[in-house]
Symmetry: none
Subunit: 135 residues, 4 copies
């Protein structure tokens, strides 16, 4: 049902390396095509509150097959999806969640990262995606 | 208690047809007068996150007997119903939910649609309502 | 991701027919391989409390790839899975939920039925499964 | 706060190996001394319902600093902790969760495993504990 554990762990490993390179402490989660948790790590001393956020970012990215930050642009006051965060038991719509596609362009899962600035979160998530995309 | 399964399925069928015409992948839910789920379908590859949103739109439309988008106008920052989305375990107040009325003008249920732009969501919901209204 | 809407609706339709044959009022839910809701109907005057139970039975059957009643045998006091019902936001472990397999023996979803005796619930679920199994 | 990610991953890796040896498909979770998720993997095709159970077993083992199965002996009807599963948002009290101790005998975390019989779940959890205990 989407991404294998092996690929999920490769994505987590690449994201972990990127976090070490940036000198940041991250929570990193991967979900499969059914938005179910497949792999997760929390780096030592990473924010405890970011465990849940990393997992929700991964789920949100798969729920709507787009980066979480894109959804957040439409969920602002006055936006077409204002307060969409109240659905699905709580969404996270700022950057750090990205879908993972296979070689056929199908979404096979998603990665979610939380623990630093949203720019760093997104960069670390991207490193995870790049390690496994199109496989 | 309000809409029959037969009419609910007609509404879902008409909405489904409209979605096919528009080339979009939708989640479509109908609730009865008690705001309880009566019929639901998810089209193949429709957003997983829209299952919950379609159901919440239908419930929200019946909770307040108005289209969800109307409620959203008043729930913005500074608005009279600011953050009403926090009630009832989570409301959705952007377009895509519409009440269904019988021939006597009584609300007998509501339809909620999610899976595309809010304009498409609303158009598909409207197709469902039109198929069964005033019956 | 598992069962198509078309097959899910065939399962619901066959289960609905069986319920009509038995003279019982049922809630009938089908989830896909990711345990996400795909199709649902509530027959007129079926128990309101059974909406949630039907959906949870379908999810439970997919969560553990076995009929819900099988799980219930092990979750009794003194059993090896005592009180497993507290997991996953609430499981239902009495009969009425059955996995759906494709022609290769893979679980592609599950059906959950609630609204009568557990014997009737199971029989109606079975009718739904038989209509689509091995496809 | 307790176990490091490095040790948590060693525990997960050893448990994963044990599961491969036994030919079973497991969900494996490690929490730290604060009962917060530190590492998690789901083997391909492991039960979806066991994601939540593995995590709850790990938390339960740390919540009470004892193997989950020990707690389950006291939570039976008539037992001194009858239905303790209702606390903490849902506990799992059958075997598969075990605390992890450091060289000074302090609990630094716990492992939870779910996906097979409770005997296999416990054996796989034990393999994880043995790989890192007393460090």
């Amino acid at each position: 049902m989407g991404i294998s554990l092996e690929l999920a762990q490769q994505a987590v490993h690449a994201a972990h390396q990127k976090a070490l390179d940036l000198g940041v402490k991250m929570n990193i989660a991967v979900v499969d095509a059914g938005a179910n948790l497949t792999a997760f790590i929390r780096m030592d001393d990473a924010w405890l509150g970011s465990i849940d956020i990393a997992i929700r970012k991964a789920k949100t990215a798969r729920f709507f097959d787009m980066p979480t930050g894109d959804l957040g642009k439409a969920s602002q006051p006055g936006g077409s999806l204002y307060n969409i965060e109240h659905s699905n038991g709580g969404l996270i719509t700022f950057p750090g969640g990205i879908p993972i596609l296979d070689a056929n362009g199908r979404v096979v899962g998603a990665i979610g990262v939380s623990g630093s600035t949203v720019e760093n979160d997104h960069a670390v998530a991207e490193a995870g995606v790049h390690a496994v995309e199109n496989q």
